[in-house]
């Protein structure tokens, strides 16, 4: 078995147990989408684009009292070690649903009856915890598109590796470790929108892991918020000619 954590409690990439990988988020990167965001979370490289609210197609799917949220999570063929067939896999279809359900409580869908809001997430390079990175990027893209939201949705995946609780599991830790616990939430409203667990934790371990996920999620929130405000102020200054 691979030694994932050294005796000095350092992980394979040299991180401490509760340390996140470097995160870089930019909003408004795509000209043609209504809103967009690009996130680099460690070696994850993910692009999110948002359209809408727009006319719903096919029309029979339109909802009379709220907007329909459509999400598509897609991994590029070159995003993983082996070539990934480009058609939607079982995992991608599941993650599209997960992302939709994680984002929908945050969006004020009732304001746009009979319309559709489309979220497209393209994973250009994948390196573990890509669902949380995708949700974070998608929520930033939605805010960039000007769609009314109750709060941003951010998160962090925590896990159990060699019986130790670690923050922000990487690809190897996800595959070789014991537990992967992605958590997405709305930090201002303190509402959880996604909680999955791949593996078993004791009650104490779960509490510790969950607390760590919320703490690290709030750190991610600050990064997302700063990137959004920076993008907004930058565009505003550009428009006003400053």
């Amino acid at each position: 078995m691979t030694q994932l954590i050294s005796k000095k409690n350092l992980r394979l990439d040299g991180r401490k147990l509760d340390e996140l990988r470097p995160i870089k988020l930019t909003v408004g990167v795509l000209k043609n989408a209504d809103g967009s965001a690009y996130i680099e979370w460690g070696r994850n490289k993910i692009m999110a684009g948002v359209y809408g609210p727009k006319e719903c197609h096919p029309k029979h799917m339109a909802l009379p009292d709220r907007a329909l949220l459509k999400c598509r999570y897609h991994m590029a063929p070159f995003s993983v070690d082996d070539r990934k067939p480009p058609q939607p896999s079982r995992r991608e279809i599941e993650l599209s649903k997960i992302i939709r359900e994680a984002l929908s409580p945050a969006i004020v869908l009732e304001d746009f009856p009979r319309t559709a809001i489309e979220v497209y997430v393209e994973v250009l390079q994948s390196d573990g915890s890509s669902r949380i990175a995708s949700i974070t990027a998608a929520s930033a893209a939605l805010a960039d598109a000007g769609i009314p939201m109750r709060d941003l949705v951010v998160g962090c995946a925590v896990g159990k590796v060699q019986d130790k609780i670690v923050a922000d599991v990487s690809d190897t830790e996800d595959k070789e470790g014991q537990v992967d616990l992605p958590v997405a939430f709305m930090p201002n409203l303190n509402l959880i929108t996604l909680l999955q667990s791949d593996g078993a934790l004791t009650k104490d371990e779960f509490e510790k892991a969950f607390k760590l996920a919320l703490e690290k999620g709030r750190y991610v929130y600050e990064i997302v918020r700063d990137a959004l405000l920076e993008g907004f102020v930058g565009r505003k200054n550009e428009k006003e000619g400053n």
Binding site: A33, D34, K54, T115, A145, G146, M149, L228, F232
Partner: protein, 221 residues
């Protein structure tokens, strides 16, 4: 509006409390706190005691009943013309939205043709369809060509256009002009309900002739 120093908010940010301000424009109240719904600039009106957030606006507006839209008539079907909408209330639409515009007005005359650029009022969103209407003064054709030769046309308000090349005269509902009255409206305007009385008694034949004549005399007065 009294402006404070520039401050910005992201969705979910606390922008005030309800004891202090009323939530307006793109804010909401949750447990006594006013939070922003969009990414934008916080605007506080100390006079009115309101707080709002001014965002960059939605990427693409969606037409609602009462909105004016502009578009091109793309195809004609039995239900009406299919209008590809490119503007809602003078804001450009980036996504594909189509609406259906009735092919005849209440007089029964065709008032637009394929390829016309039209301005219409959204009348309803029934059955997940944007239903359009051109009955009011502001709605109508904005740009049209002769259906005979494709030439430019001169406007002949209120409801005709004439081709500058071949002289062909066609009927159109022109934007900015009140639609002409219906024929029945003209009759009502001239003679009250006399017309319908006369039609009814003439159909019944000669035995009613006397009454018919007296009725007509009365009508003339």
């Amino acid at each position: 509006m009294v402006k404070e120093e520039r401050s910005f908010a992201a969705p979910g940010d606390r922008v005030g409390v309800i004891e202090e301000f009323s939530p307006t424009g793109l804010t909401y109240e949750e447990n006594g706190e006013i939070r922003s719904m969009v990414l934008g600039e916080i605007q506080v009106d100390k006079g009115e005691r309101t707080v709002s957030v001014k965002g960059r606006g939605l990427g693409s507006p969606f037409p609602m009943p009462g909105d004016y839209v502009q578009g091109t008539v793309e195809s004609l079907t039995s239900a009406g013309g299919l209008v590809r909408i490119y503007m809602v209330n003078d804001r450009e639409v980036s996504s594909d939205i189509t609406g259906i515009l009735r092919s005849h007005d209440r007089r029964g005359t065709s008032y637009y043709k394929l390829g016309d650029v039209v301005r219409c009022l959204v009348s309803s969103l029934a059955n997940n369809t944007v239903w359009l209407d051109m009955e009011d003064k502001d709605s109508g054709i904005i740009r049209t060509f002769c259906s005979n030769c494709g030439g430019n046309v001169d406007l002949m308000p209120p409801d005709k256009v004439q081709c500058q090349v071949c002289g062909n005269v066609e009927s159109r509902k022109l934007a900015g002009y009140n639609p002409p009255m219906e024929r029945s409206e003209h009759r009502r305007f001239r003679r009250g309900s006399g017309g319908s009385f006369r039609r009814r008694f003439q159909r019944r034949g000669n035995e009613r002739f006397r009454f018919h004549r007296s009725r007509r005399r009365f009508m003339r007065r």
